[in-house]
């Protein structure tokens, strides 16, 4: 365990050109009768990013933007169609080899719904001990028991809670159990897929505070996935904005909120309800996410973008460096998008 929450410069995780295609075709006979070809959905399209040790990278996006698909690929629950994931400079290939099993101990995942992610027939102590046993971190049963008690204390539950079943706990307490389970194999990196979306706000605050405390204490690195921009701003060091499976902007968290570059990022920020009641006028957001099976040409955001021109309809934008990070937008590259002064 380290006590240094400082972010180091070395990337812990490198993702390059990650792509996942799902076959969403109709059954073979239907295709034959209706003379239709196969249909594919690019849920994640050529996504590259890196996560440095000790930082929290957040991925935000609306439903269908590919957030959860990326999370699943990072922990090996889904195989990438193309692209590579390097964890501590080692390729992540889930082949069950000894090398992979060693690597597997070093990352864990926290899921969205603590109602679905805990086995209702298992006692809490068994749920928390499972990763240790499966991954062979600890073999001695007395030591496992002691570690479970320690973990329960770490997440704010008591050792006596280990002999209870999940149904005896509230949603927030269940998410604490899920966090304890994720920590049991002593991982360095945790993928958190909407960890507080199923919780009420006051409970959400408890869990977010706990996750930050644990990060400081254990030197954890997080990939934090959420659709809630306010939560993301609170948790993240850097933020990646996803639209239709592709990253449109990556920037330092505080800066992204001060000076969003990509028109989609601006639109998302504009849509957040104004709780401070500053009288900020919310701009009417145009349209909805298009059908991902048949995405628009060029920049996929162009049909909703107030700054789109012909080039945006033809060409897929590459990365343009900005003052705060990078963004994929022709308009920003050409400097024809006026700087927006964002509140906050």
């Amino acid at each position: 365990m380290t006590n240094t929450p400082a972010v180091s410069a070395t990337p812990l995780l490198q993702v390059s050109n990650l792509t996942r295609v799902f076959d969403v075709s109709k059954p073979w006979l239907n295709r034959l009768i209706e003379r239709e070809s196969k249909q594919f959905l690019r849920a994640v399209d050529n996504v590259s990013f890196e996560i440095r040790k000790g930082e929290t990278l957040a991925l935000v996006g609306e439903s269908g933007s590919g957030k959860s698909t990326i999370a699943k690929m990072l922990v090996g629950l889904l195989d990438p169609s193309e692209g590579a994931i390097l964890f501590d400079d080692q390729p992540m290939i889930m082949d069950g080899s000894e090398r992979m099993m060693d690597l597997r101990k070093r990352f864990q995942m926290i899921f969205q719904s603590p109602y679905a992610s805990l086995n209702p027939r298992w006692k809490v102590a068994d749920i928390i001990a499972e990763p240790m046993i499966v991954l062979g971190v600890e073999k001695d049963s007395a030591r496992i028991g002691a570690r479970v008690d320690e973990l329960l204390g770490l997440v704010g539950l008591s050792a006596a809670d280990g002999s209870k079943f999940p149904h005896e706990f509230s949603g927030g307490q269940r998410q604490r159990i899920a966090i304890a389970r994720a920590l049991s194999s002593n991982p360095e990196f945790i993928v958190c897929d909407e960890p507080t979306s199923a919780l009420d706000v006051s409970v959400q605050a408890q869990i977010l505070n706990l996750m930050r405390d644990l990060q400081d204490r254990l030197g954890l690195t997080y990939l934090f996935i959420s659709h809630d921009l306010s939560v993301v701003r609170h948790m993240a060091t850097r933020i990646g904005v996803l639209y239709l499976g592709a990253l449109v902007e990556i920037a330092d968290s505080k800066e992204l909120f001060k000076a969003p570059q990509h028109p989609y990022t601006r639109m998302l920020l504009d849509a957040v309800p104004d709780l401070e009641m500053t009288g900020r006028q919310r701009k009417e957001v145009e349209g909805e996410i298009p059908n991902p099976i048949d995405p628009p040409s060029g920049c996929t955001f162009h049909p909703r973008c107030p700054f789109a021109n012909d080039r945006c309809k033809r060409e897929v934008p590459g990365w343009t460096p900005t003052r705060t990070g990078v963004t994929a937008c022709h308009g920003v590259e050409e400097g024809r998008i006026p700087q927006a002064a964002m509140a906050g």
Binding site: G172, A205, Q206, D228, S230, P273, L275
Partner: protein, 329 residues
């Protein structure tokens, strides 16, 4: 004084249980003026949806109104026979539910559903009803309404479906619309559109709104007044701006602090310890007392009543003296 559009008095909703009844909503009272938007906010289990269902007479058994009265323009509606309530529901009180896919029938076109609703409540011919339906869809922002009206619900996107549901709720020009978490199932960019449509259309059609949600941000943007509910009781009720800027009840201020915002600089969120009590063990006195840092002896024994303080009402003993001093003035 004029009669308020809706008046809820000491509403108590109970669920029978082996060990005696569980009280899910306990003595809720509020008034709603014509044209007003009242937000009802609270966490899961606070009784906000049950209050809404009770008003429109859709409380699912075994839940039942154990006591209290609901008046619509001075007329008592909580004890009506089902067939009399059916005349009010849809005609005088419209409803928007959370999930637009489950509140529309997938087997009928939008036209059939809208025309049926309109003709149930208004004396219009089929053709007039269809004209009216197209007008409604136009109003809620469905492009090419005259063509899309013959589509089925699955042919619309989620945001468009919620617009259709709003059109349905307004089909018979109700005086009151109850919207239960109308934006919870939607993405944030679409959520903003729906809030705008709901607010604008209800104002235009002259309907008052009860907006039930867990999202304080939505309330801040939409409502005139807000009622904060906790454990089936109203903790604080008053003008939105005052309550958001300067919450009085310890629960409300804790709740406001626990919401991460875009402007905030602090590293830690305000944290209310513990969780809302289960219905079976609501503590005596103030339901919030075990989690409240200001709780004193009286809070653990005697249940606070709503005390008027600074333009709003707060159910908290901390303000008992404030009331006395205000009365003295």
């Amino acid at each position: 004084m004029t009669t308020p559009l809706l008046s809820v008095r000491n509403l108590v909703i109970e669920f029978p249980n082996r060990h005696g009844p569980l009280t899910a909503v306990d003595g809720v009272s509020f008034d709603l003026e014509a044209g007003e938007i009242l937000g009802v906010v609270g966490e899961s289990g606070a009784g906000k949806s049950l209050t809404g269902s009770a008003i429109i007479g859709l409380l699912d058994p075994p839940g039942r109104i154990a006591s209290g009265e609901i008046h619509l323009k001075g007329e008592r509606i909580d004890n009506l026979r089902p067939e009399d309530m059916r005349v009010i529901r849809g005609r005088r009180i419209g409803m928007v539910f959370q999930d637009p896919l489950t509140s529309l029938n997938p087997l009928y076109t939008i036209a059939e559903q809208l025309i049926e609703t309109i003709r149930t409540h208004l004396r219009l011919s089929e053709r007039e009803a269809r004209q009216r339906a197209i007008g409604l869809l136009d109003d809620v922002g469905i492009p090419a309404a005259s063509r899309r009206i013959d589509d089925y619900p699955h042919q619309f996107s989620v945001g468009m479906r919620q617009r259709v549901v709003i059109a349905l709720a307004l089909a018979a020009e109700p005086e009151l619309v109850i919207a239960d978490e109308p934006t919870t199932a939607l993405d944030v960019s679409v959520q903003a559109q729906i809030i705008d449509v709901l607010k604008e259309q209800c104002t235009q059609h002259g309907a008052s709104v009860i907006l039930i949600t867990h999202d304080m941000g939505v309330i801040a943007e939409t409502a005139d007044r807000v009622a904060v509910m906790y454990s089936g009781r109203i903790a604080e009720i008053g003008p939105v701006r005052e309550i958001i800027k300067n919450a009085k009840h310890p629960y409300t201020s804790g709740l406001m602090g626990s919401i991460p915002t875009l402007a905030q600089e602090e590293d830690r969120l305000v944290q209310i310890p513990g969780a809302m009590p289960r219905l079976s063990d609501i503590p005596p006195g103030c339901a919030f007392n075990p989690r409240c840092e200001h709780a004193f002896d009286k809070c653990r024994v005697e249940r606070p009543v709503l005390i008027p303080v600074d333009n709003r009402e707060v159910a908290c003993w901390l303000y008992e003296d404030a009331e006395a001093s205000e009365a003295a003035r």
